[in-house]
C-alpha cells in the first residue's frame, strides 16, 4: 500500500509537470502571436515574461520530481527511464523560452509577408509538444499504447521541417537580404527545434516501451 501511495504521488507530480509544459507552450504561442500583431518590444515584454515564468515553473516541478524519485523507493530501471524522459522533455519548454529570448535579445523582425507562415510554424511546433505530452502521459496510464501516440509527434516534426525549409527558401529569394534576414532565419531554426526536441522525447518513449515489450 505504501508503494502504491508513493507511485500515485510521483504520477500526480508528473501530470502537474505535463500541465506546466502545455502552459509554457500556450504562453509561447500567445507571445509570438502578440509580437507578430504588434512588434512593439515594450508591449510584448509582459507576454515574454509569462513564457519565462511558465518555463521556470516546469523546471521547478521537474526538480521536485527528481528529488521525490530519489527519496521514494522506485525500482532503479523505472527511475532511470523517467529521469531521462523528464530531462529530454524539459528541453522543449527550454527551446520555446530560447526562441522568445532570441526575439528580445536580437531584435528579431518578422516581415509582414511571412507572419502567417511563422505563426503556422509555431502552431505546428506547439502541437508537436502537445502530442509529446500526450504520449508521455500515456506512459503513466496505458504504456503499451504510448508508442502509438508518438507517431503524431513524428508527423508534426516533419511538417515543421517542411515549413522551415520553405520559409528559409522564401526569405533568401527576396532581394533585400541583410543582417535582419540572417537573424530571422536563425529565429526560424530556433523555433523549429521545438518539434525536433519533441521528436527526441518521442524516440525516448519508444525505447521505454520497447524495453518493456513482451
Amino acid at each position: 500500500m505504501l508503494f502504491i501511495s508513493k507511485q500515485k504521488e510521483i504520477q500526480s507530480q508528473i501530470s502537474e509537470y505535463c500541465a506546466s509544459v502545455i502552459k509554457c507552450m500556450d504562453t509561447f504561442q500567445d507571445a509570438v502571436k502578440l509580437y507578430c500583431d504588434n512588434s512593439d518590444r515594450k508591449a510584448a515584454k509582459a507576454s515574454f515574461a509569462e513564457v519565462h515564468k511558465a518555463e521556470s515553473r516546469a523546471d521547478d516541478i521537474r526538480r521536485e520530481i527528481e528529488v521525490l524519485m530519489y527519496s521514494k523507493s522506485l525500482f532503479p530501471e523505472s527511475r532511470g527511464d523517467i529521469m531521462g524522459l523528464l530531462e529530454t522533455m524539459d528541453r522543449v519548454p527550454n527551446q520555446a523560452e530560447s526562441s522568445i529570448r532570441m526575439i528580445w535579445n536580437q531584435y528579431v523582425t518578422i516581415p509582414e509577408q511571412h507572419v502567417d507562415e511563422v505563426l503556422n510554424l509555431v502552431d505546428v511546433c506547439c502541437r508537436a509538444a502537445y502530442a509529446m505530452v500526450e504520449s508521455a502521459e500515456k506512459l503513466f496510464s496505458d504504456f503499451t499504447n504510448a508508442a502509438v501516440a508518438v507517431g503524431k509527434v513524428d508527423e508534426l516534426e516533419s511538417e515543421g521541417d517542411r515549413i522551415e525549409a520553405s520559409l528559409i527558401e522564401k526569405i533568401f529569394s527576396e532581394k533585400s537580404n541583410n543582417i535582419s534576414t540572417i537573424v530571422f532565419r536563425d529565429f526560424i531554426k530556433c523555433v523549429v527545434q521545438i518539434s525536433d526536441r519533441a521528436e527526441n522525447v518521442g524516440d525516448r518513449i519508444r525505447i521505454i516501451v520497447a524495453k518493456r515489450a513482451i
Partner: protein, 315 residues
C-alpha cells in the same frame, strides 16, 4: 558425526550456487540488496526444509540401505567432491544428481540398490526440466496477456514484475529448502539415535542457508550471463516456473536440480520468443553437467568404496 560434515558441505555448496536461481536477477538488477535477498532466502530455505523436507529424506534413504558410517562417509564425500569438481570445471552443479550418483555407486558395489526408487528419481530428473518448460510457457502466455491487455502505467508494470520477482524469490527459496535439504542429510536417515528425519531435513536446510549467506554473492551477480539474458519479465516467468516445479517435486519427495528446472523454464521462454535468443553453448555445457554429475559421483563412490574394502575387508 564425521560423515555428516560431507553432507553439510554439500548443502553449503548447494546454497552457494542455487541461491542465484531464485534471487539472482533481482540482486543483479539492484531491486533488492544482496544482504536482504540472502537473509530472506536463508530464512525461507530453512522453513521449507523444516515443513516439507522430510519426503525427500525418505526417498534418498530408501535408495540403498547403508548403515555403516564409513560407507556413509564415502557417499557424502563423493557427492561433495563431485560438486566441487563440477564447480571447478565451471559446469552447472546438481547436488541431487551428485548425491544420487554417489548412493548408486555404493549401492551397486554392495548390491543393495533399490532399482525402483532409482528409476523414480531418474524419471523425475528428466521430468523436472520438461515440467518447468511447460509451466514457464503457461505462465509466460498468461502474464504477457495480462500486461498487454490491461491498461497500466509503466510504473505499475515495473512494480508488478520487479515486486513479483521478490515474492517468487521467497517462494522459490521455500521450494528450494523443501526439495533440496534431503541432498545434504538424506542418507543419514536413522543413523543418529534421537535425530528424526524432520530434524535431519532442518540440518540440511541450515547448511544450504549457510551457503547462501556466506558464498552466494559472486554467483548471484554473474546471473544473466548464462543461457539467455533475463529481463524482469523473463526472470519472473523463469523463477516462478522453477519454484512451482521444484515445489511439486518436493511434494513427490524427489530432490531435483533448481538449475535444471531453470534451464527448462528458459528453454520454454526461448521457444516462445524464438531460438535465436538462446545461447546454445551454455545449453551444451548444462547438458554435459547433467550427464557427467551422476556418472562422476557414481565412479568416485564405487571406487572409494572398493579402496575402503581393500583396506578393511570386513566392511
Amino acid at each position: 558425526m564425521l560423515p555428516l560434515t560431507g553432507g553439510l558441505y554439500l548443502g553449503w555448496a548447494l546454497g552457494a550456487n542455487d541461491a542465484a536461481n531464485v534471487f539472482g536477477t533481482a540482486v543483479a538488477s539492484r531491486i533488492i540488496t544482496f544482504r536482504k535477498a540472502s537473509i530472506l532466502c536463508a530464512i525461507f530455505i530453512i522453513l521449507g526444509a523444516a515443513f516439507q523436507g522430510e519426503a525427500g529424506i525418505h526417498t534418498l534413504s530408501g535408495l540403498s540401505k547403508q548403515s555403516h558410517m564409513p560407507t556413509l562417509l564415502v557417499v557424502s564425500l563423493s557427492a561433495a567432491i563431485t560438486v566441487t569438481l563440477m564447480t571447478i570445471m565451471r559446469l552447472p552443479i546438481s547436488a541431487s544428481q551428485a548425491t544420487v550418483g554417489s548412493i548408486a555407486g555404493v549401492g551397486l558395489a554392495t548390491g543393495s540398490m533399490q532399482w525402483g526408487g532409482l528409476v523414480k528419481v531418474i524419471i523425475c530428473w528428466v521430468a523436472s526440466p520438461i515440467g518447468a518448460l511447460i509451466i514457464a510457457c503457461i505462465i509466460y502466455k498468461l502474464l504477457a496477456a495480462f500486461i498487454r491487455y490491461t491498461p497500466m502505467s509503466v510504473l505499475t508494470r515495473d512494480k508488478i514484475l520487479w515486486g513479483g520477482l521478490i515474492i517468487v524469490g521467497i517462494y522459490g527459496s521455500y521450494a528450494l529448502g523443501a526439495n533440496s535439504s534431503a541432498n545434504a542429510t538424506g542418507i543419514f536417515s536413522g543413523q543418529f539415535p534421537g535425530i528424526s528425519d524432520k530434524e535431519l531435513a532442518l540440518f540440511g536446510g541450515i547448511s544450504i542457508a549457510l551457503g547462501v549467506l556466506t558464498y552466494s554473492k559472486r554467483v548471484m551477480m554473474a546471473v544473466g550471463k548464462g543461457i539467455m539474458p533475463l529481463d524482469a519479465f523473463t526472470a519472473l516467468v523463469t523463477v516462478s516456473a522453477m519454484a512451482i516445479t521444484v515445489h511439486i517435486f518436493a511434494f513427490i519427495g524427489v530432490p531435483v536440480s533448481t538449475s535444471q528446472a531453470t534451464v527448462g523454464a528458459i528453454i520454454g521462454i526461448g521457444l516462445i520468443r524464438g531460438a535465436h535468443s538462446i545461447k546454445f553453448r551454455s545449453l551444451r555445457n548444462i547438458g554435459f553437467g547433467w550427464l557427467l554429475t551422476p556418472i562422476i559421483a557414481l565412479v568416485l563412490s564405487s571406487s572409494a568404496y572398493a579402496i575402503f574394502c581393500l583396506a578393511k575387508p570386513t566392511l
